[in-house]
């Protein structure tokens, strides 16, 4: 009796496993593409070269920080280290914050994968919103910290 009951459960497990494997095989080319693109971008546009792009004025630096963070493809850890170094070299906190926030929220390199899996419009609107939010958050964070003393 229990054997008869167990069979459909095993069948369901196998079916679920097949479905999951099939889903995963479908996303593998996208993952491989994103990883290969990340390597190529980091090799040709190393993040260390970013320091020279700043130093104009706060607003322009914030925009530069957001643009740079949006296309940066490295680990967030790299963003923190780079942000810390930029701050130590006199780049404004607004610019560094914009870079940090856009680094972890806007995904230009991952955009094709996001568009393919969650929809083009969703990916486009989400990334545009995140881009705008990065500048707003940078300004608000700096202003709040000044208020707090």
């Amino acid at each position: 009796m229990s054997k008869q009951k167990g069979c459909p459960e095993n069948h369901q497990l196998v079916q679920t496993l097949k479905k999951t494997v099939s889903m995963f095989v479908g996303i593998l080319p996208i993952l491989a593409g994103v990883l290969l693109l990340t390597g190529l971008l980091l090799e040709y546009f190393p993040v260390e070269s970013a320091a020279g792009w700043f130093g104009n004025n706060d607003i322009l630096d914030a925009l530069t920080g957001t643009v740079f963070g949006s296309v940066a493809a490295g680990h967030p850890l790299t963003g923190y280290v780079l942000g810390g170094e930029l701050l130590a070299n006199g780049i404004s906190l607004v610019a560094v914050t914009a870079l940090l926030v856009s680094w972890v929220t806007v995904g230009s390199v991952q955009f094709p994968a996001e568009a393919l899996m969650l929809g083009r419009r969703f990916a486009l609107y989400r990334n545009l919103l995140c881009f705008g939010f990065s500048i707003l958050i940078a300004i608000l964070t700096t202003a709040t910290l000044q208020l707090l003393g």
């Binding site: 479908g26 996303i27 990340t38 090799e43 040709y44 994968a113 608000l140």
Partner: protein, 169 residues
């Protein structure tokens, strides 16, 4: 998704071919770096595979609709915020799971909230405090959380009809 993934990979491979014509050494370095990334990503991919398997096995559309669906209320927002903060690994590894949950009824706004809160990296907060101080880290994290909710609401509002009718999903 169709053949979109394969076409994307093909385009990237073509970029590599072009780049190797310009600078072979840099391109080989890029390939080596990407290979290391793939190895680093394997544990996360395994975790995501297990989560998708469990989601397919245990998470039914009714549960998704009740907890992260349109009528999930505050609970849905809390799950999305905390889930985003706790999720590990690169963002693209999570797209497949979110896509699966979306087909089961997960609210668009909550997908956006989940993705945004991935920006708050709990394991990396000590490093951020080290570089920028406690006050900065707390203020920034609070604003990011607030803006994630605003982003979710806005995204759902401006794209509600269009996203619902997209053929890709």
């Amino acid at each position: 998704m169709g053949h979109g993934g394969a076409i994307f990979l093909l385009i990237v491979v073509c970029l590599y071919a072009l780049a190797s014509l310009v600078d072979t050494e840099h391109t080989l370095n890029a390939l080596a770096f990407s290979t290391r990334l793939i190895y680093q990503l394997l544990p996360v991919l395994l975790l995501v595979f297990v989560l998708i398997f469990l989601s397919n096995l245990l998470v039914k559309p009714n549960w998704v609709r009740a907890n992260v669906g349109r009528d999930s209320g505050v609970r849905g927002w809390v799950i999305a915020v905390i889930g985003g903060m706790l999720s590990v690994g690169p963002i693209y590894a999570w797209f497949a799971l979110l896509r699966d949950l979306k087909t089961k009824g997960m609210r668009t706004a909550l997908i956006a909230v989940f993705l945004y809160n991935r920006g708050i990296k709990l394991p990396l907060l000590p490093l951020m405090i080290h570089y920028f101080g406690m006050a900065y880290t707390l203020v920034l994290a609070a604003y990011m959380m607030l803006f994630s909710l605003l982003g979710g609401v806005l995204l759902e509002k401006i794209s509600e009809d269009q996203i619902a009718t997209e053929d890709e999903i």
